[in-house]
Symmetry: C2
Subunit: 80 residues, 2 copies
């Protein structure tokens, strides 16, 4: 099974990387871009074939390692 | 308009960050995870309302700043 995971900063948490990109875009002439938010995107393969078990496993991975749940939120999709 | 952009390493390009995560997951007991690849995920708002123009604008942003097209590829979706 393949998991696609998005980890993004929670709303209201300052995103300095996003602000830097916004500023750089502005400098390059893209004046119309705003509210840039940057997150992580991860893909991984799982040996687990059972969807419910795979879901529980990816959830545990996110909670324990991939996301800092104090300031970040995560979501993921599973596919075969 | 809102743009959701994924920037990922091209296939065949070594992903040390992914390897590090894979190793950390293994250490935490998630032995079944493999082929971890890490990319960037960005969201931004555009003032442009015309879809074709917005598409051209985001493409230019990716080519000029957001992605290093030598080793990375990008894809994006636009929504209202």
């Amino acid at each position: 099974m393949k998991a696609k995971i998005h980890v993004t900063l929670k709303q209201g948490i300052l995103d300095p990387q996003g602000k830097a990109i916004e500023h750089a875009l502005d400098t390059l002439g893209f004046k119309a871009a705003s509210n840039v938010r940057v997150g992580k995107y991860m893909e991984l393969d799982l040996a687990e074939q059972d969807k419910a078990k795979a879901e529980a496993e990816v959830k545990a991975m996110c909670e324990k390692l991939l996301a800092n749940t104090i300031i970040e939120e995560y979501r993921f999709e599973l596919s075969n």
